[in-house]
């Protein structure tokens, strides 16, 4: 829905420019991302709310899985809003979105390897260096 809206913005502007497009160059003249200012202000407010919420997680000393859950949820929501709206990703074509997002998601593999490695290192240190840790 939002994607279609962005396309309309782009097309409306392309027509407003009144360029006589030659077939091969038809998209070179479509200019920029233009959206109403309200959406930026709303996202800005939302980011403030989410930041306050993640700060309160620490302020009220939530611990354990609840803390982790809240921190990661707020982090991903904020990151998503910034990329989608402020960086205009939700209005870009999927070819660009996937080119950026898929390699980024592959970093989850590195994250998993890092966690496995860290567990093993901690275990080895416990066995060989720190008496009584395990």
């Amino acid at each position: 829905m939002a994607h279609a809206e962005g396309q309309q913005h782009a097309h409306a502007h392309a027509q407003g420019q009144q360029h006589a497009h030659v077939e091969g160059q038809q998209h070179a003249h479509v200019e920029g991302q233009q959206h109403p200012i309200g959406i930026y202000l709303k996202i800005w407010a939302l980011l403030f709310v989410l930041s306050t919420a993640s700060y309160l997680v620490d302020y009220f000393h939530f611990q354990g899985y609840l803390r982790w859950f809240l921190i990661i949820v707020f982090m991903l929501l904020k990151a998503g809003l910034i990329v989608a709206v402020f960086m205009h990703m939700m209005w870009e074509r999927l070819a660009l979105l996937y080119a950026i997002l898929v390699p980024t998601l592959l970093l989850m593999v590195l994250l998993g390897i890092g966690a496995l490695e860290a567990d093993y290192t901690f275990f080895s240190r416990g066995v060989f260096f720190v008496k009584g840790l395990l």
């Binding site: 930041s51 993640s54 070819a95």
Partner: protein, 245 residues
């Protein structure tokens, strides 16, 4: 041209053909000649690719930090206490970091609006908003300098050790926040450069740039914006995994 023909095929030369959407859109964009990224200036596509590489750099830092912290046998210093500020005789956890977060998010908001006014060719508003963005960025760096000073002089944190626990805390902290602060500082410099270009009318008059000689266009405000939002984006992750963990 087609007057002598009895049945002319209607040729639409004004309206561009609609691009296919969804998965077939991805396939047709990537398999088309000349350019895979339709509807974006190449400078913007290149900025996205640069940001992707920067994402990998920061991810490597943050994942190494996770690995180092998980494998540390000494207790990790509690960031909530280390970064607390005393206000009116009462210790408030992470206060400075929270303010820094709000400052950086606000600068992202003003940047987004600068991009919008840029495409409307509103020189004055674009210039003002870019300057506010730069000022907020400089404020962020200033507060970070204060944070570092406090940490080094008062808490005695060094890259090779600290009095509170695991030695890795210092090296990871200075590495990650230092790299991020450098990004913010470079961003502030470029924001000022872009603001001057806007004010001088370089983007209206297509004046060639000082480094590349490319014509000035308002798309550079959006490309600048992408970089700036990315810096804010990285801070979101640093704030969550370094300060809140």
């Amino acid at each position: 041209m087609a007057q002598h023909m009895t049945q002319a095929i209607p040729a639409n030369t004004v309206k561009p053909l609609p691009l296919p959407e969804g998965v077939s859109g991805i396939v047709s964009d990537w398999s088309s000649d000349q350019r895979a990224f339709k509807n974006v200036p190449w400078g913007k596509a290149m900025m996205w690719i640069f940001l992707l590489s920067d994402t990998f750099i920061f991810s490597s830092f943050l994942i190494s930090y996770m690995t180092v912290r998980m494998s540390a046998t000494e207790p990790w210093p509690n960031p909530s206490e280390v970064f607390a500020l005393t206000l009116f005789g009462k210790s408030v956890p992470l206060l400075l970091i929270a303010i820094m977060t709000f400052v950086l998010i606000s600068s992202s908001g003003t940047m987004a609006m600068a991009v919008k006014f840029g495409y409307e060719k509103n020189k004055k508003m674009t210039f003002i908003l870019l300057l506010i963005t730069a000022a907020l960025g400089a404020t962020f760096v200033g507060m970070q300098a204060f944070e570092w000073t406090k940490l080094i002089l008062e808490e005695g944190v060094r890259p090779w050790g600290n009095p509170m626990g695991a030695a890795q805390f210092g090296s990871v902290f200075f590495m990650i926040t230092g790299f991020h602060g450098t990004h913010v500082s470079i961003g502030v410099i470029f924001l000022i450069i872009v603001a001057i270009k806007v004010l001088r009318g370089d983007l209206d008059n297509e004046r060639p740039g000082f480094m590349t000689g490319r014509k000035g266009k308002y798309e550079i405000v959006e490309i600048m914006g992408l970089y700036w939002h990315f810096v804010d984006l990285v801070w979101v992750f640093i704030f969550a995994v370094f300060y809140l963990w």
